[in-house]
Structures are given as C-alpha cells and as structure tokens.
C-alpha cells in the first residue's frame, strides 16, 4: 500500500521526473563504482644504445633527431599513456648483452622515476662498440622470461660487425613463450653514423674504410670462388676488401621482421602513429587488473537530464498545449 501523497506524486510526470532525479543522485552516494576488469601491460623495455642509434634520421617535433632521442621520447610517451597498474622495466643493449637497470615498476605511481630514468639514457652508458642485435635480442628474451614480463626491444637492427655468410645465431628458446614487440628505429634511406672520440665528442661520421663490410669468421659464402684473387687456402674470401654500405645505416625492417617471426614477437615501427601503447597492448600477454568504473557521471547525467526536462521542456510544452486549447476554444 503506497501512502496517498506518494501515489499522487508518482501519478504525475513532474513528480516522477523529480523523484527519479533524486533517486539517481542519491545512488551516486550509495553505489558510485562498478567493479570490472581492465587490461594492463607488464613489459621490460630494452633499448639499443650502440653507435648506429646516434644516426640522426628520425624526426622529433619537426626537427631532425637521433634514433636514440626519438626512442626516448616515444618510450616516455608510452609510459605516460599506459593505463595505471601497468609496469615497465628498463634495460640496455650493447655488444651482445642486455644489462638490466631496474625491474618493472608501476607506470603511474612511479612515473617520475621512470620518466627520469628514460630521459637520462645516453649512448655513453654503452660498454662496447659491437652491436650483435640477434644475440642481444635472444638474451633480452631470456631476461624478460626470467622476470615473467613481456619485452619491448627497441633497435635499428644494424648488426655490427655484419653477420657471417651462414647467417646469425639461431634462437634456442621457445617462440612465443615471451610475448612483446620489436620496435624498429630509423629511416629507410641509408644515413651516415656520427663518430665520437674517446672523450665523447663528435668528430664527424664513419667512412666506408672505417668499418668492416663483411664478416670473415666461419666458412666463406658459396659464391666466393668467383671473386677476384680467390684462393681456397690463402684467400677464401677473395683478395680484395669487400665493398659495402655498412658505414651507412637505415632501419633493417625486413631483418627485424624476420627476427620477430622467429621469436614469436610482433614488429612495430618506432614512429607508428598514435605511439606504442596500441601495438604493445595488442602484442602483450593479457593481464587483468581490477578497475573501478565510475558510475557517477552516468547517474548524475541522467538526473540532470530529468531536471532539464522538468524545468525546461515540460513548462513550455504545457504552455504550448494550453495556448492551442485556448485557441481551439476561442474558435
């Protein structure tokens, strides 16, 4: 049995609107959240800090920038755009090794520390000049697997020294056991690599004669006997130094895509529109985190709509109807 005033109240549109708005508003205080699960990402970011990453063939805010600077900017953007609860760790790649700086930390609560650490990355942290990308990648995959996280490996794919004729090292892990992204840095046209002296000052670029263009470890390539001065015992690689483009660098996208396919990772270019958050979320292991979905805007918005109908629409509607009926009576 509903009390009479209440029944009377709910009998009218105005009463229903007002009571509805009040109930909705009161609900914002009682049940403001809905518990749902959202996606989060946990990844170890390993960044290539070898010499070729200093090549200035990327663009940052319309200005030319080195691949490393671009990578730092993109990774800082990634840290800022991942949902809270995501975790990122940081490691360096040079030579053939991966050096862990810190294990994954929270991207929101520890953002200042993470952002500062990314900003402080420098090629001068490197310990050796070699850049054996495939070996470094495999070690990074092992490290990420150890930490139980996914991997983001940022590199230009420039192997230095070049891979021997029989190809690079083989991946011995289980493809797809560690998920994640290989991120290709650099432009598609070969560009000169800056050169630094032993005090870290830039002294020009690498020339063709400064770098080896062929790896002469292991057996020679099958077509070596057609080279000039070839001698099976004394000059198995031919007599002349191999010509090449190893002093110039561009992103080795085909090579990196091949490595990605071999290891079960996904590939994304560094300058992917919209940043790396999308590709990483798509490639990463789905991890759930509890999210509290705020219901208050929905409840409050509906209550506001009810009040606007009550104060705005209904009076004018009633007035219009009355005018129409008055005109009708007058006729």
């Amino acid at each position: 049995m509903i009390p009479a005033p209440l029944a009377r109240l709910l009998g009218h549109t105005r009463g229903r609107l007002l009571a509805g708005a009040l109930v909705l508003t009161a609900l914002t205080g009682v049940a403001p959240h809905l518990a749902v699960t959202g996606q989060r990402v946990e990844a170890l970011v390993v960044i290539d800090i070898t010499g070729s990453m200093n090549t200035r063939d990327e663009r940052l805010d319309g200005k030319p920038a080195s691949r490393l600077d671009k990578a730092k900017a993109v990774l800082r953007g990634l840290a800022a755009s991942l949902p809270c609860g995501s975790r990122l760790g940081l490691g360096l790649f040079a030579e053939r090794r991966t050096f862990l700086l810190f294990e994954p930390i929270e991207t929101c609560a520890d953002f200042a520390a993470l952002d500062g650490a990314l900003a402080n990355l420098d090629w001068r942290m490197g310990w050796e000049g070699d850049s054996r990308v495939a070996a470094g990648l495999f070690r990074a995959i092992g490290l990420a697997g150890d930490l139980g996280s996914d991997l983001v490996f940022v590199t230009d794919g420039h192997e230095a020294p070049p891979l021997p004729a029989r190809g690079g090292p083989a991946f011995e892990g289980k493809p797809g056991a560690v998920r994640g992204l290989i991120v290709g840095a650099g432009g598609h046209t070969p560009s000169p690599i800056p050169r630094y002296d032993d005090r870290g000052r830039e002294i020009g670029f690498y020339g063709a004669e400064d770098v080896p263009h062929e790896n002469r470890f292991g057996p020679p390539p099958p077509d070596a006997d057609k080279r000039e001065g070839y001698n099976p015992r004394n000059a198995p690689f031919g007599a002349a130094a191999a010509p090449g483009q190893e002093h110039l660098s561009s992103v080795r996208e085909t090579y990196l895509r091949g490595l990605a396919a071999e290891t079960g990772l996904a590939y994304a270019p560094l300058d992917a529109p919209g940043g790396l958050a999308g590709p990483l979320t798509a490639a990463a292991t789905p991890r759930t985190r509890p999210v509290r979905l705020d219901l208050r805007p929905v409840l409050g918005g509906t209550a506001l709509a009810a009040l606007l109908v009550l104060f705005g629409l209904l009076p004018w509607h009633v007035r219009l109807r009355e005018t129409v009926s008055r005109l009708g009576h007058g006729a």
Binding site: L18, F99, L100, L101, F102, D110, A117, W127, R296, F311
Partner: protein, 352 residues
C-alpha cells in the same frame, strides 16, 4: 581568514571543465517552476502574502541549486593536493653500485653454488632492507662498470628504488671504472635542497686507478656538493685490504684499493670506509650507516587531492529533496476547495 579562503579557492579545480558551459541552464527555474500549474481565472483572486513569496523564492533557488550542483558534480570538482614541508629523519642518498662481473662471485672469490650467496646477491638483500627501513630518504641509483649508468634519478618512490636494487645481482659487465661512476653519482644530487644531508654510498668489490687528469675535477665536485662519503668495500677473502701496503712498489697500479682510500681521505669530506668480508659484515656496516645518517631533513609531503564530487551530488540531492517535499505538499484547488492554508496558496501564486 580571507587569506585562508583565497588559498582554498586557488586550490579548487575541476577535472572536466567543459561541463561548466552548461551552468547557464541552472537559470531555468527562474522562468519555470517544477510545481503544478493550476489555472486560476484571475490573479486578483489570490491575496498577495509574504510567506508565499518566500516559499516561491526558496523553491526557485532549490531548483537552481539542484541543476547547478549536478553540473558541477559532473565536472568533477576537487581540491588540489597541497605540498607540505615536514621534518623527519633522513637524507639524500646517492647509491653507486659496482656492476662488474666479479660482483657475481662469492666473498671467497668463487662462483656461488648451493646456499652460497654472491657479493651482488648479499648487497641486494641488505640494501633492499636498508631502503625499506628509511621512510623519508630520497634515493638515486647509479651503476658503473666500464661506463657509468644513471639508473634512477633522485626519487622518494622506494618501490622503484627497490626494483633497481633487485637488478644488481643480474650478470654484470667486465671492468671497474670508478672515476666516471663517482662523477655521475655526484651529479645525481642535483641543485636542490643544499641544506639536506647528502650521502654518497659506494658499494664495490674492488677499485681502479683514478686518472690523474680526472682527479682535480672530482675534488672540485666533492668540495661543491660536500656529501658524506661511505665506501662499502666488499673484500674478497685473501685479497689485500685498504691498509695493506703492497710488498713491492706502493703505486696506484699495485694497490688500487689502498690508493682509492687515500684519495677519498684527501677529499676533505666526511668519509668512512667499511671493509666487509662477509654478508654479516655488510649488514653491520649498513646498520652503522643507518645510525649515522639520522639527521633531521625537511621533505615535502604531497597530500592527495580531495574529491568534492560526492559533496556536490549531496547538495544537489538536498535541493531536490526540498523540491520533492514541496511537491508532496501540493494541493489541487479543484479537489480541496478550502484553500485557506498558506501552503496551498503558494502554488496558486506561483501558477499565476
């Protein structure tokens, strides 16, 4: 009082300011009422009375408040968090950690096997505890081997610091280039808070020659920043200690540890070296540092921002409850002809 109010107003903010464009809609109750319209043949029938006007004004205001506070609540009002300067016990600590390959060996100079702990694993465990015990410290982490590596900038987020400390027993690199590492660890202090107590804690298991050309620069930096320098020297059993003179010539090449110690002593900053030959000794040394570095430090505590959304919804609900009460008191002229009560007259007045 006014200053306090101004401070409060300056801290007020909204998350979604676009909603505030709807605020003019709160004026709608001025031209229309939520109450029922009752046709009255003539306004002259209704006597003018003050109470009706008051009730009318209150209801109009309640309508405006209901719409206004709902819009405000949707915009997400809050008070921005304050930064409070507080005083506690702590220091700015710049950790400089040796990540050379020998750190992955035990104190006996072997590869760890079974329950044995490598020097890196022992320092990891003990440093993690150290950071955990000291709530108000700012900590920066740097590592060095062949080259210095800035791991984490000065931060109060201790779980980030612990994540960096947990990385130190991962395989290290070859060489020990302590000079550049020291330069980086000094740079980590940054320009801020010169009155804070500054601590440079070097954890290494060996030393290297500091180039004579670099020495003046390092001296200058130490003199400028004036940190308290602690060297936690993880000595491998049987290797020379800091005080042992080498049998032959006493040169930095022959006894790098001893000469690094001498260099530190000559810097003119408070300096103490701890020689640890076991995990227990490391533990004791760290406890000693913990005791020493308990000086008052002023630090900023950030208060989280206070959400006022619930408050705004509450006010909107209150206004609506008032409107609803008026609605419940509504009377039909046609049903109850005895419209003598003032409460009944207000609707008629409003309707007119």
């Amino acid at each position: 009082m006014t200053a306090g109010l101004m401070a409060l107003v300056s801290r007020f903010g909204v998350t979604a300011p676009a909603w505030l464009w709807l605020l003019p809609l709160a004026l709608m109750p001025l031209v229309a009422s939520s109450q029922k319209r009752i046709p009255v043949p003539s306004l002259a029938m209704v006597p003018a009375d003050g109470l009706s006007r008051l009730v009318d004004a209150v209801l109009t205001l309640a309508g405006m408040a209901a719409i206004g506070f709902l819009i405000l609540a949707l915009a997400g009002p809050h008070l921005v968090g304050e930064s409070l300067m507080r005083t506690g016990e702590g220091a700015q600590i710049s950790l400089l950690i040796d990540r050379s390959g020998s750190m992955n060996e035990t104190f006996a100079g072997r590869q760890p096997s079974g329950p044995e702990e490598s020097k890196a694993a022992a320092s990891r465990r003990i440093l993690e505890g150290f950071v955990g015990r000291r709530a108000h410290d700012l900590v920066a982490v740097s590592a060095f081997s062949t080259s210095p590596m800035a791991v984490l900038p000065m931060t109060d987020r201790h779980d980030a610091v612990r994540a960096a400390i947990r990385a130190i027993d991962r395989p290290g690199l070859e060489a020990t280039n302590v000079a550049r590492g020291l330069g980086l660890a000094l740079a980590q202090f940054g320009p801020g808070a010169p009155q804070a107590s500054r601590v440079l804690l070097l954890v290494s298991d060996g030393a290297a020659i500091i180039d004579r050309r670099v020495q003046p620069t390092l001296r200058e930096e130490f003199a400028k920043i004036r940190p308290t320098l602690y060297w936690l020297f993880l000595r491998t059993a049987g290797s020379p200690g800091l005080g042992d003179r080498p049998a032959g010539e006493d040169t930095p090449q022959a006894a790098p540890e001893r000469h690094l110690d001498l260099f530190f002593k000559s810097l003119g900053v408070p300096y103490r070296a701890f020689e640890a030959e076991s995990a227990q000794a490391v533990e004791e040394a760290i406890r000693e540092i913990d005791r020493q570095e308990r000086k008052p430090i002023s630090y900023t505590e950030r208060r989280p921002q206070r959400d006022l959304t619930g408050f705004a919804y509450g006010l909107a609900a209150l206004a609506m409850a008032l409107l609803l009460a008026a609605k419940l008191a509504e009377t039909d002229l046609a049903v109850r002809a005895s419209a003598s009560r003032p409460a009944a007259s207000r609707e008629t007045r409003r309707a007119a």
